[in-house]
């Protein structure tokens, strides 16, 4: 029986654990241990040694991210820790489960992480649509204040922390960490140039760490059980468990906490129950809309950072979108690019104009109005919308499914253009 630290105390269809119930299953012991027996440096070391990598999609080492925050007497104050709960990557719904299912687990992780960087204030940057999560987090924060896990001199440790929820008002770009900072400051949520990095100059110019919900939900378990335990949870060089998911025409769409590094085949066939009757698997987007399509031949790829990258895509958020044989792949790619063109913040021209142009070409092809040179124009867009030409990672992410789609679905593109129609319509 594999361990499932993140989800073992989540009760589907029922209210999440109250603070007292959470304490009864060992909750807040990691916090007590960290704040009373460990120095901030000790906590950072345990997390670094655990090799926890960011679960928001980029996979950056969490301990290393924290290590850039200035510490000591001379460090600028106040410092901030922000939980990025702006989950809006199409096909991604894992953070919703963690926030609705066990809000205290997230809070405990946030408080320990804040202690590790000696933050004074923490925010949960929550997407507008997650109404249930908002209510449950509000309640959990109130309980944490009542029981002195937040506020002044937390459990007599001498450490103090305030926590707030900021509920956003839409827009995918708010999940980009520097755009998120502008959003919290009440500005238009356009990204900032890096450097300076947020760890040095973040919210209101002060040192700030931004971590994902799933990343932070792991922290209390790592502190309680140690780095070796965390490494032992996985079946790959990347540590821990992962909340994987699948949507599309599979028999049982959903989320599963599994050892990091299970194969796509195991996820799709055992956990998602295979394809629905009458549908065949055509392709998989492994980790949210901004990752490359993989073909059926990649089903035995392990779902960890290095393996998925080697196969030509990214683990991303680990929530797979399954494309079946009755779904037009050109229509699917067009749908993805509609999303990215709409959600482009408009700050830099290549993204604002390039994505809309690509989306319009795709629409023309899907409507039977494509020209033979269109695939070449799309390929050129993919070559141009790369890091360095755009201000942030939105457009480079947006062209990942496009460039891989142009390869995997080449024949479908050509057929749409040749026959001047969508064969699926």
């Amino acid at each position: 029986m594999t361990e499932k630290p993140l989800t073992k105390n989540i009760r589907p269809g029922r209210a999440p654990l109250s603070l007292k119930e959470y304490e009864a299953v060992g909750g807040y012991l990691g916090l007590r241990r960290a704040l009373k027996e460990m120095s901030p440096k000790d906590v950072q070391k345990v997390v670094t040694d655990s090799n926890l990598r960011g679960r928001g999609g980029a996979g950056f080492q969490t301990g290393q991210k924290w290590s850039f925050v200035p510490v000591g007497e001379d460090a600028p104050r106040p410092k901030y820790l922000i939980c990025n709960a702006d989950e809006m990557e199409p096909g991604t719904f894992k953070d919703r489960l963690l926030m609705e299912g066990n809000p205290h687990q997230l809070l405990e992780g946030m408080i320990i992480s804040s202690y590790a960087i000696q933050a004074d204030v923490s925010y949960i940057f929550l997407r507008w649509a997650y109404k249930v999560a908002a209510a449950r987090l509000e309640r959990a924060i109130a309980e944490a204040y009542e029981n002195n896990y937040l506020g002044k001199n937390i459990v007599g440790s001498g450490y103090s922390l305030e926590m707030y929820i900021h509920t956003s008002a839409g827009r995918y770009i708010c999940g980009e960490e520097t755009a998120l900072l502008n959003a919290l400051e009440g500005k238009r949520a356009t990204p900032r140039s890096k450097p300076p990095f947020p760890q040095v100059c973040g919210l209101w110019g002060k040192p700030t760490v931004v971590n994902n919900v799933e990343t932070l939900s792991n922290i209390s378990h790592i502190v309680s059980n140690g780095p070796d335990w965390f490494k032992g949870l996985s079946v790959s060089p990347d540590s821990g468990t992962k909340i994987y998911g699948a949507s599309g025409r599979v028999k049982r769409p959903g989320l599963w906490e599994l050892p990091m590094g299970v194969t796509m085949r195991e996820l799709l066939e055992e956990h998602a129950g295979g394809m629905r009757d009458g549908f065949r698997l055509r392709s998989v987007i492994p980790g949210g809309a901004s990752t490359e399509f993989l073909a059926e031949e990649h089903l035995d790829v392990k779902m960890d950072y290095a393996s998925v990258q080697k196969a030509g895509s990214r683990l991303g958020t680990g929530t797979m979108i399954v494309i079946d044989d009755k779904t037009c792949p050109i229509g699917a790619i067009h749908n993805l690019e509609v999303f990215f063109a709409r959600e482009s913040c408009g700050w830099c021209t290549p993204c604002r104009e390039g994505l809309r142009w690509a989306e319009q070409i795709l629409l023309a092809i899907e409507n039977g109005e494509g020209e033979p040179e269109d695939t070449g124009i799309l390929e050129e867009q993919c070559r141009r919308l790369v890091p360095g030409n755009t201000f942030c990672a939105l457009a480079p992410g947006a062209v990942e499914p496009l460039q891989s789609g142009l390869k995997i679905f080449r024949e479908d593109f050509e057929r749409h253009i040749r026959e001047k129609r969508c064969p699926w319509k």
Binding site: M88, G91, T92, G248, I321
Partner: protein, 153 residues
């Protein structure tokens, strides 16, 4: 100008903000909660936030869920992102059009409903999905949509 009640609620948000501008999204939401939408008259609210009306408008127009035009009594947000699109976003949109007589971005003549597209609602395992005001509805079918609309009439 903000009403006394709006002013009181915005003041509550300002207490939590390190800088006044940090409360501007909350302030816009307060105005929208009371009036349904945010009109061009932003001067009074902007002054409370130490912002110019244009700065505040720049923020208001950035967000998809701050409405700068009047909307119906209930706002239906239909998820059009990939998982919902695969599972039947287009049939949902068409059924709403049949039942309400309006397309995306439009409001029924009785002012009851506005239908808008929305990016991924994070309900991909229960696609297709939509929200009506603050309520999320999953696994939509024509019959289910009829039941839902009935609740809001």
């Amino acid at each position: 100008m903000p009403t006394d009640e709006e002013r009181r609620q915005i003041d509550e948000e300002l207490k939590k903000a390190a800088f006044k501008q940090g409360a501007c999204v909350d302030a816009l939401k307060i105005v929208q909660r009371h009036r349904g939408w945010v009109s061009d008259e932003l001067r009074g609210v902007a002054a409370m936030l130490d912002m110019t009306p244009d700065e505040l408008d720049g923020v208001a127009t950035f967000y998809s869920l701050i409405f700068r035009r009047p909307v119906g009594k209930h706002v239906i947000l239909v998820c059009d992102s990939i998982s919902c699109w695969i599972m039947g976003y287009e049939p949902v949109r068409e059924h709403l059009k049949r039942r309400l007589g309006i397309g995306l971005g439009e409001t029924t003549t009785d002012g009851q409903f506005t239908v808008l597209p929305i990016s991924c609602l994070g309900a991909c395992d229960h696609a297709p999905a939509m929200m009506v005001d603050d309520e999320l509805y999953l696994d939509l079918t024509d019959e289910r949509i009829d039941e839902i609309l009935e609740k809001y009439r």
